[in-house]
Symmetry: C2
Subunit: 892 residues, 2 copies
């Protein structure tokens, strides 16, 4: 029989850390802490299987669940000597969600459950603090009303504001027990009038309602959005944790806090966190009060005026340090913990693997290897390859002169510039139009997630390092400055005031999430140093991986970046990009406008020296490494003007009639350019174009060979091959040009001619094509388009619906579709290698930088992946991880 | 050692009929006739392998060829007691090309070779006719100058015209021996001045030059074009036939003629042909003199004023009839023969299988079976399926009132209407713009082939039934009226005068190639009767074939035509065609313009009754046969207006703002519509559209079931599936709609839900898709586009070059690419059937009507092909032929 409820507390638990799928992250953590003998308030977890059952069976619960809950509750009562719903000696509980994957702020929580008109008096009596009891009761009513009964929170807040006005006070803390009692009564009236039913006084009814609400919230739109963004399947479900309440708000010997066992921003091995004295539960995370530091060192570093826990509660602090060591030793990783101090007693409420910045992840992984806690393979496994992206992008130039508007907390590292926007919707809208934006909010909430995702960076004026904004931004890898209290945000007028400055919506600011600076305008950036922990870890990855990593690059800047990031060559140089530059597009257009081959040749002759110089530069930069050059790929009409102004300009430059230009453009128009006159089809119908490119390649190689004494080894790649004959015609041309150039110069250039495999037919006929092609490079962008019959440009109108409906588990343009596209890759590799065992096979679509796709590439034994320069380190790490997965090596 | 030369003559030959590939058609025919003991002037054939050698080895000849030619020539000399180049007793020869496949008029011929200033006197002496000798010499000089030396023929003709003017005569026949002698001298001067070398007097040099010219002509542009049009590989090469001259122009007991052993237009079992008294070689075919009939019956039937051979030369005629029987008994097929009568002696110069109209082919094949000469399988094999097309198209309505302008010869049957054009280029140009044209020429020549191909029909004012125009038109299946001598064509003014009428270029005329009528304007047509020989042969084909044949049809007219042509059901009904009709497009557009589902549903509700009526009508017409209905396929923007006028009209009808319509159109625009938001992607994102269609199908089926007592069995086909999940979502919808409709009506409709396989991914994942799809239909148009990455609309700009360069052996949109597309079809069929052994698998792309593709379909064991109604008989026959090929059944 299935067990639906798992108890914990009192130094033991029915669950374990490895039951995370069943108990959720929070439940598994609580069980494990209880097993470790840490002080955990007793409670129980209702499993994720109940959630799955709930949604699969028309929102009903499994038989026997009620009995298991009753038994578990009785155990808690017994441990604490309290009774749920007993006016004399009431047990109060919290009810929280806890999914398998952490979903911060997305799920709802109810505290102080079990309070009613009778038990509140028991609580008052037992705590000796009537004000605390009624404050707790009103908090419970507020949370229950909002989360379980769906009443908008302004109903409650308005009553508090009015009452404070009547009472002539400003702060909540000035309200008395009597005030809260009055408000409790008013809150119950609100609940009755909004739900047309009285507030449930029965504790068991309250519990049932709260459990329903947690399971119900699994499908609320915010949760659905979060899961979609983070690719969390909805059938995972959430667990529900019911736990005896402990109170951090019973007086000044009480506190509540959150901490990381190491610094989540830098990875430095120090306890890092915040607490609030005399505060309850979510007050720290909610960012309503600015919290205090735990350690003296941190207090000093941040110049905080508030005392550290180390000073205020040294005993509790020492115990917390012990807990920290226990958890790190046990989990062998940095932990994110929550605790409450009730009258000097430390209670642990949560432990989980802490989210961290990429920089911190590297530092922690490398440190743990140095500390002997984990091995190198485990360190490699621990870094999410995509997160490295955060480290690779330019950082603010420290020598730049800047106008610093304010300092906030360095909540998520990295720098970002963009236009100021004040709402998530505006952020999403503007970003969708290609604008860089900074989302500015007093504080963020789960409703803002989509805007945070769309923004380049997030700035808040309230909240600490563990506020919603900070946690979510770190998880997303977005720079964030939090709690920049000097800034006054006015949503109404859409302005930020700071001393004498006024920033309006649309003005550009820069935030530096590593220092907390908020800067006026855009700040120049520089390339980051890739040394230290990064270099160490990448060294381990490189030693492990067998898959080569190259870069897609054609400009000298990109080629240099690629080398800097560790690329082992260029896997794709898109020569057409070279023709778009201002001084070249005119010659390109002249070539396209020419009626005859002679006219085309004349225009190409002007392009030749430029193209030759491009290639020579690439060969110089990539000295000693292979350079794959793809011959012209896009249809000619891509080079022609689109707008009337461009037509006029082209007419002026070329001396041709606008009508003539228009009619040529019209003649070149294609119904489906993706499937049109492009790639090798151009090379075959206008052989002079590819010939010029081949001449440029060989003349450049010869020049560089003479310069350096070492000839480059160009790999010439023919795009869009569908038949072997196409390849043969063009290979013959390349060989002829190569021979002529080499004979003339008396220099031998080793070279290879190969092809893109980007059409299904080429994949199927790979055996035949490999008879004359020396290498294959899968163009998975086009291959995905043709295999799915899906234009990347046009898919946007329905791909969202397709993901929602589960037709596509992932966007096939991001991660290789292993079943369809992947099968053709497999077929082509096998057939090609059967013909030519030493065939070099790589991939140069954008999938080359996607970790899941890289895993597939290793699985089918490709020789290398090629990706954009900024993804090269990601690919190097992902390739190492693929090796670990492929070898099935266990953890150390 | 390879033998390069094969001798024949004197009742024996080294070659045989089955050595056609080596000796060419003409050479093999000559050898076989010699072996049969027929009177063949002796000679020899230089093999096609010499031609291949010539082009493969830089236009050089194999070693030993000269010696073999010398030996063969000596044998001819010995047989005839003549000597090549001997002034006293000269042997004269003809040199002709002879390729494996007949290429009428495409290759060059030289007659009277061996004449020079000395031998001409020997010929004069031996023939006793000096005029004949010098006429022969000047003909030789003319032909040699033109064909071998490349001198334009007007040089010679001008001299003749001038000489006639000087001599004061009108006709060539009035010129004397002396006149010709003078012209011979002038011709030699032309040759000297044009080639800067004297005319070669040495007979052996002449022979060498002529052989070079024949091989050289294999690659002339006309030959290359002809081969391309007829898909003849250029590596087949041509043979050269060198044969002793016999003269049909030595006097009135001489003649030359061509004949068919049966009527090539009707197939009737009668000798059919023409001859000219006192004429040489090519005079009949060239169409310069109007020839006479062979038989009395034919003379009478055609009301010819000239005497028949049967009257004039009864002995020769009797011998010709004997030859006819010998050849038909031997070849078991209708033959096309050439002969010359020299002083009462019949000489056979050629026999080959005669070209014939489709009607004649059917009649001959069926007659030969009835005569016991061949079996039914051989009869099936003999009919080119594509030729049936000629019989299926509408014929002129005999009850229509017409203005007959003139009568010509019924040279190639069928009727055609179109605009008059006077040149091949104009025909091609206008036809390329979608115009129906009739090519009108005084006579045609090989330069006109492309225009004849482009035209709907051909009309000439000169030449007979075996003229170039007639032979080529019959081969192409184009209607042709030849020798309509009452019409006066003026190329200058681009007019035709006939009595009081003047027809100008661009005026519409109709020609009836079955009667020889030339009619003013367009004439209404009617559907042909498909009975007699056609029905007999198709009955044999149907009994043999295992592959089913269905039709692609959606209109009642097409569905009726399909049934009439023997379709066994509808394999593809494209429902979108139903939405373009005037009364529906407005509702369709209203649906597309609607912002919300409710608006779309309202518009769809208007379409439902029309769609239901469409389906009901199809079910009624196809009673007892399956009907496959494909749900909406094209992207929505195809239904929106394109031009400003259309925008305005739509605004008027819909009451919407033009700007709004434009912006919606703009929003729906796609970069690559072929790969865009269409097919099942529409069905998934706008479920209400497919739902309406499903409702219409089931309501129609129910209505027809109630009407007829027998429920139709609809097959509902989902287009553009890439994933199984897409299919599942839509199948669930169809099942739900079906259940609701059937429950409501209390009628059970047996139905099937299946899918198009038209994307590579669907083919690869076919095993999975077949778990829920009940049938597959290969959409080979789209599959070809995606497998090749080639848009059908855009391929035109380079597909010609691709065929010329041998990249594509055939247009993959016409004949299935068996290597690429075919492999996916094979994979999908195998995987689909592995999952679901009774999976029904068909094909509904246009390849379904292409014989070569049908052969492939049978090879991979598809259940049926579906094609346009007019190709159904072609498919039935091709399917039977595929069966014969598949079974490897020998001929009877």
């Amino acid at each position: 029989m299935t067990k639906w409820v798992y108890s914990f507390g009192n130094g033991a638990a029915e669950g374990r850390a490895d039951m995370r799928n069943l108990l959720g992250g929070k439940g598994a953590g609580l069980a494990e802490m209880a097993n470790l003998g840490l002080p955990v308030p007793p409670g129980f977890t209702i499993t994720t299987e109940v959630c799955t059952h709930f949604y699969e069976r028309d929102k009903t619960y499994p038989d026997g669940l009620d009995a298991e809950i009753a038994a578990a509750l009785a155990a808690v009562e017994k441990t604490l000597g309290l009774k749920f719903g007993d006016p004399g000696n009431p047990l109060l509980v919290s009810v929280r969600s806890g999914a398998r994957a952490s979903m911060p702020g997305m799920m709802d929580t109810v505290l102080n459950l079990g309070l009613n008109d009778d038990t509140v008096q028991g609580l008052a009596r037992k705590s000796g603090d009537e004000r605390f009891a009624y404050d707790s009761y009103r908090r419970f009513l507020q949370m229950y009303g909002q989360v379980v009964l769906g009443i908008e929170h302004h109903h409650f807040e308005q009553l508090i504001e009015e009452h404070k006005l009547d009472a002539g006070v400003v702060l909540d803390t000035e309200l008395t027990a009597e005030d809260w009692r009055t408000l409790v009564s008013a809150f119950k009236d609100v609940i009755r009038s909004e739900t047309r039913r009285p507030f449930p006084q029965d504790a068991h009814d309250q519990l049932k309602g709260a459990i329903d609400a947690v399971f119900g919230s699994w499908m609320n739109p915010r949760a659905v959005t979060y899961r979609r963004l983070h690719q969390i399947p909805s059938d995972w479900g959430t667990a529900v944790n019911v736990q005896a309440m402990v109170f951090g708000n019973m007086g000044d010997d009480c506190a509540t806090g959150v901490a990381f066992t190491r610094d989540p921003a830098t990875g430095v091995n120090e306890l890092y966190g915040e607490y609030l004295v005399n505060a309850q539960g979510e007050d720290v995370v909610a960012g309503i009060r600015t919290p205090q530091r735990l350690t003296l060192a941190s207090k000093e570093a941040s110049r905080s005026p508030l005392p550290a826990m180390e000073e205020v509660m040294p005993d509790v602090f020492a115990e917390l340090c012990k807990v920290r060591r226990t958890l790190e030793d046990h989990y062998r990783d940095m932990q994110d913990i929550e605790f409450t101090v009730e009258r000097g007693q430390l209670w642990m409420l949560q432990t989980r693997t802490g989210k961290r910045t990429a920089q911190a992840a590297l530092k922690i992984a490398v440190s743990l290897v140095e500390e002997g806690v984990i091995d190198k393979n485990e360190a490699i496994r621990r870094i999410e390859p995509a997160s490295l992206d955060q480290l690779l992008h330019p950082m603010l130039d420290p020598s730049a002169k800047t106008t610093v508007l304010a300092h906030g907390l360095p909540a998520s590292p990295g720098a970002a510039s963009g236009k100021v926007v004040f709402s998530a919707d505006e952020a999403e809208w503007l970003a969708g139009r290609g604008e860089a934006v900074i989302l500015v909010r007093v504080e963020t909430s789960p409703e803002d997630i989509h805007g945070m995702h769309a923004a380049r960076g997030v700035l808040t004026t309230r909240g600490g390092m563990t506020s919603h904004a900070a946690v979510v931004a770190r998880g997303m890898g977005r720079p964030c400055v939090a709690g920049a209290g000097d800034l006054k945000v006015d949503y109404e007028t859409r302005t930020i005031s700071v001393r004498n400055n006024k920033i309006e919506a649309g003005d550009v600011i820069t935030i530096n999430g590593s220092t907390g600076e908020v800067i006026l305008g855009e700040v120049p950036t520089i390339q980051p140093e890739l040394s230290g922990d990064f270099a160490t870890l990448m060294g381990w990855a490189d030693a492990l991986r067998k898959l080569g990593v190259r870069a897609n690059a054609e400009t000298p800047a990109d080629a240099r970046a690629a080398r800097n990031f560790g690329a082992e060559g260029i896997g794709l140089s898109r020569t057409e990009h070279m023709f778009f530059e201002a001084d070249r597009i005119d010659s390109m257009r002249e070539m396209i406008m020419a009626d005859e081959e002679t006219g085309r040749r004349a225009a190409l002759a002007k392009l030749l020296p430029m193209q030759r110089a491009d290639f020579a530069e690439l060969f110089r930069i990539m000295r000693g490494l292979p350079v794959t050059i793809r011959l012209l790929d896009p249809p000619l009409h891509e080079f022609l003007p689109k707008t009337d102004a461009e037509f006029a300009e082209m007419a002026r430059v070329s001396g041709k009639d606008v009508g003539e230009i228009r009619s040529r453009t019209h003649a070149l128009h294609e119904a489906n350019p993706m499937l049109g006159h492009r790639g090798c089809r151009l090379g075959i119908t206008y052989p002079e174009i590819y010939e010029m490119q081949a001449v440029a390649i060989f003349e450049a190689a010869i020049a560089v060979a003479k310069e350096t004494g070492k000839p480059p080894e160009p790999e010439i790649m023919v795009p869009l091959i569908a038949t072997r004959r196409e390849f043969d015609i063009l290979r013959e041309m390349v060989d002829r040009v190569a021979k002529a150039a080499m004979d003339k110069a008396g220099v031998k250039i080793p070279y290879h001619v190969g092809t893109m495999i980007e059409l299904p037919r080429a994949a199927l006929l790979a055996g035949e094509i490999a008879e004359s092609a020396e290498f294959f490079s899968f163009g998975t962008n086009d291959l995905t388009q043709t295999v799915f019959g899906l234009s990347r440009d046009d898919a946007a109108s329905f791909i969202g619906a397709y993901q929602r409906l589960g037709v596509l588990k992932q966007d096939p343009f991001v991660t290789i579709d292993t079943e369809g596209v992947g099968e053709l890759i497999r077929i082509a590799s096998e057939r090609g290698r059967a013909t030519r065992p030493d065939l070099k096979v790589g991939i140069c679509g954008e999938h080359g930088g996607d970790p899941a796709s890289i895993r597939f590439c290793r699985e089918v034994r490709l020789d290398y992946v090629s990706c954009s320069p900024y993804r090269v380190p990601i690919a190097r790490l992902a390739a190492a991880q693929a090796e670990l997965e492929d070898a099935g090596t266990g953890t150390a």
